[in-house]
C-alpha cells in the first residue's frame, strides 16, 4: 500500500470519527478579520502582514502538531515524501477538510508543491484593489507558518512560501515546501 493511500485512509477515518466540526463561515470570517485588521495595523505594508501571518501560523503549528500526533497515532515518517502525504492527506484533511495535491518534486526529494484546489480560508475573499495587494499580499500565508512550526517540532526544518494564489488572478494556489535539514535531536552522539 503506497504511503499516499495509507495517509488518505488515516485522514478519512480521523475526519469521520475524531474531529469536532465547526461552522465554515466562522473560520472564514475570523481569519478574514485577522488579515484585514493586520493590513490596517501595518498600514498596508503587505510584506509585514505576510510576515506576521507566518509568525502566527508558526505558533499555531507548534501546538497543533501535538493534537495531530495524539489523534492520528502515526509514527515517524520514513522519508520526506511520506511526510508530504501525511501533511496533505491527514493534516490538511483533519484541520481544514481539504487534501491539497502533492506534486512538482525535485529530483533530490527535498522540495514539493501543494496545490490547493479549494481553500476554506479564502472563501468570499477579494483582495483590496489598491494596486499593491494583488502583487504583495499572500492572503493564506498563515498556512506556511503552521507547516514550519509543526514540522520543526518533529525535527524537520523547512521553508514554505506561496508562489501563486487564485486570489491574485493566478490559475492555481500553490505553496512550495522545501526541506532545509533534519534537526538532530537531543545531545550529539558522543565520540566512542
Amino acid at each position: 500500500m503506497s504511503s499516499a493511500t495509507k495517509a488518505s485512509r488515516i485522514g478519512e477515518e480521523l475526519w469521520k470519527t475524531r474531529v469536532d466540526k465547526v461552522n465554515a463561515e466562522l473560520v472564514t470570517l475570523t481569519y478574514g478579520t485577522i488579515v484585514a485588521q493586520l493590513c490596517q495595523d501595518y498600514d498596508g505594508n503587505y510584506q509585514e502582514v505576510n510576515k506576521q501571518l507566518e509568525k502566527m501560523g508558526y505558533n499555531i503549528g507548534m501546538r497543533l502538531i501535538e493534537d495531530f500526533l495524539a489523534k492520528s497515532n502515526v509514527g515517524r515518517c520514513a522519508n520526506f515524501r511520506e511526510t508530504a502525504d501525511m501533511i496533505s492527506k491527514v493534516g490538511f484533511r483533519i484541520f481544514l477538510n481539504i487534501a491539497p495535491t502533492v506534486t512538482n518534486w525535485t529530483s533530490d526529494n527535498n522540495q514539493f508543491s501543494l496545490i490547493f484546489d479549494e481553500n476554506p480560508l479564502a472563501d468570499f475573499v477579494e483582495l483590496p484593489d489598491d494596486g499593491r495587494a494583488q502583487d504583495e499580499l499572500w492572503f493564506s500565508n498563515i498556512l506556511c507558518g503552521v507547516l514550519r512550526g509543526a514540522l520543526e517540532m518533529v525535527q524537520m526544518q523547512i521553508e514554505a512560501h506561496f508562489v501563486s494564489d487564485v486570489l491574485r488572478g493566478d490559475d492555481t494556489t500553490e505553496m512550495r515546501v522545501s526541506l532545509v535539514r533534519y534537526i538532530e535531536d537531543e545531545m550529539p552522539p558522543d565520540e566512542e
Binding site: 507548534m62 501535538e66 493534537d67 489523534k71 509514527g75 515517524r76 533530490d108 526529494n109 517540532m153 538532530e184
Partner: protein, 183 residues
C-alpha cells in the same frame, strides 16, 4: 485504580508536570522530582545510544535515515532512491540498527515488584512517565488518553507557554476525572 502518578518531562529534560492520583500517596520533595526528571532524561538518551548496531553490508539498500550531512544542501541530481548514500569516511554510517525502518527508542518500561514505570515519548520529544501497579494492563490506552488530554487542555490553551511548567486547572480536572472514571 492502579495508576499511582504521572510525570511529564519536556524535550530539554525539565520537569513540567507531576501529579499523584492516589490520595495520601507519599510525595517526594520538589527537588527530588526535578532530579528524577533530569536523571531519567539522561538515562533515556543513554539507552537509546547503546542500541546494538549491526555492520552495514556493502550492497544493502539504503536505510531510510535522514542524510546527516543535510546541513549543506548540495544539489543532488542522482536518482530518488539514493539520497542517503552512506559515506565511508564517517565510522557511524557503516553501522545500522537492526530493522533500520524503525528508529531506535529509549527506555520504555522499568519494573520492580511494587510498581511499573512506563515511559512514552512523543515524536516532539515530550516524555510521559506513568507509575502504575506492575499488574496493570492496557497502559498504552491510558497513555494515549493522557496524551490526547495534554494536546487538548495544555497545548491548545493559548496562555500556556511551550516548554514551561504545566499549570492548567482544566487539564488536572479532566485527567483526574477520566482516571477516576476508569475504575
Amino acid at each position: 485504580m492502579a495508576v499511582f502518578s504521572l510525570i511529564i518531562i519536556n524535550k530539554a529534560g525539565g520537569l513540567v508536570y507531576q501529579r499523584e492520583f492516589q490520595p495520601g500517596l507519599r510525595k517526594l520533595s520538589t527537588n527530588d522530582y526535578l532530579v528524577l526528571a533530569g536523571t531519567f532524561h539522561g538515562v533515556h538518551a543513554i539507552t537509546r545510544s547503546i542500541t546494538p548496531k549491526l555492520p552495514l553490508v556493502a550492497t544493502t539498500t539504503n536505510p531510510p535515515i535522514a542524510p546527516t550531512t543535510a546541513t549543506t544542501p548540495t544539489p543532488n541530481v542522482t536518482s530518488p532512491s539514493s539520497t542517503s548514500t552512506p559515506t565511508p569516511s564517517s565510522s557511524s554510517s557503516t553501522y545500522t540498527y537492526p530493522n533500520p525502518g524503525i528508529p531506535a527508542t529509549g527506555l520504555e518500561c522499568l519494573e520492580t515488584d511494587k510498581f511499573r514505570l512506563t515511559c512514552f515519548q512523543t515524536l516532539t520529544g515530550t516524555k510521559f512517565l506513568l507509575f502504575t501497579e506492575p499488574t496493570m494492563v492496557n497502559i498504552d490506552v491510558v497513555m494515549k488518553k493522557i496524551y490526547e488530554l495534554y494536546a487538548d487542555f495544555v497545548m491548545k490553551n493559548p496562555f500556556y507557554q511551550l516548554e514551561m511548567p504545566v499549570r492548567c486547572e482544566s487539564f488536572d480536572r479532566n485527567l483526574q476525572g477520566w482516571l477516576r472514571g476508569r475504575t
